[in-house]
């Protein structure tokens, strides 16, 4: 065999290692849309709180429930958009949407996220809501870092940023809302745009 063939072998090996262990069809646009949903949701929450409860959020009140519904809808829309756009992108690339690599990605993403989500619900039930924003950022960041082993590396950095924002937020709970807006809103938009131009546009 010629050395050119060996070189081809090596690059094929690298490609197979990546393709088989990492799910790379995540859509950048879905990141941008998730950021926009978060901003809209945050604006609605801000409006609800300032308009109807003079800046004080009372647990178990109607406004509080509306804010929770608002949060739930942001998450729901983001997830649904993510699934639809990622499926479309995977199809275009001829990749399988539900194979070992994507399954592993989802499972590893969900472990910290579900644990965090349940924890947040528990402490909300105990009337401690001061750290909610910080905890959401932290657990989301941890989920991203954990999932990054099974996807492209950029997710890892988004995770680190969310973790740092979460820690700042824990330190300065008064700015929780704005840090949340920055983390879930602007960071998603920046990250999504970055991903879109780095991976989607070229092809």
């Amino acid at each position: 065999m010629e050395s050119k063939d060996y070189l081809k072998d090596i690059s094929e090996i690298k490609d197979l290692m990546n393709k088989s262990s990492r799910f790379i069809s995540l859509s950048g646009i879905s990141g941008i849309l998730a950021g926009i949903y978060a901003l809209i949701g945050a604006a609605i929450a801000y409006w609800l709180v300032t308009e109807y409860s003079s800046g004080i959020l009372i647990l178990n009140g109607k406004i509080f429930r509306l804010v929770m519904l608002d949060l739930f809808l942001i998450a729901l829309f983001s997830v649904v958009t993510g699934i639809i756009l990622t499926t479309r992108k995977a199809k275009k690339n001829g990749a399988n949407i539900w194979d070992t690599s994507s399954r592993r990605l989802v499972i590893n993403f969900l472990i910290p996220l579900v644990a965090g989500g349940i924890y947040i619900l528990v402490i909300l039930n105990q009337q401690k809501y001061g750290q909610t924003g910080a905890l959401m950022l932290l657990f989301y960041g941890l989920a991203l870092v954990n999932a990054s082993k099974y996807s492209i590396g950029d997710i890892r950095y988004l995770g680190f940023i969310q973790i740092i924002l979460g820690l700042i937020c824990a330190w300065l709970p008064g700015y929780g809302f704005w840090l949340w807006v920055f983390g879930f809103g602007f960071m998603h938009i920046i990250y999504g745009t970055w991903m879109h131009f780095k991976y989607d546009v070229k092809k």
Partner: protein
């Protein structure tokens, strides 16, 4: 010719290289996953996995998922060591030129 000595005949085929490289980074892979990633036919893949199994470079586990038979492959310790040697030898060979 010390460089040539580490080139392993058992890996000297792109399907076999492919099988090994997939198994190196995954805990295990089943027949369908290998087939899709390598774009090989059933018979082709079966004969190459058999060859690697015979050399004790990969482990084969047969099981049932529901009623469907499912074959899982994973590397053995020996397979990992030999594959690394092989890749290093390839790399040296390329760098020589």
């Amino acid at each position: 010719m010390s460089i040539i000595t580490n080139i392993n005949k058992a890996f000297d085929h792109r399907i076999r290289l492919g099988i090994m490289s997939i198994l190196m980074v995954n805990e295990y892979a089943d027949f369908k996953m290998l087939k899709e990633l390598l774009g090989a036919t059933d018979g082709n893949l079966a004969s190459h996995t058999k060859a690697l199994e015979k050399a004790e470079y990969i482990k084969v586990e047969k099981q049932f998922i529901g009623r469907k038979p499912n074959t899982r492959y994973s590397t053995t310790k020996l397979g990992e060591i030999e594959f690394k040697k092989h890749i290093n030898a390839l790399e040296k060979l390329i760098n020589k030129q």
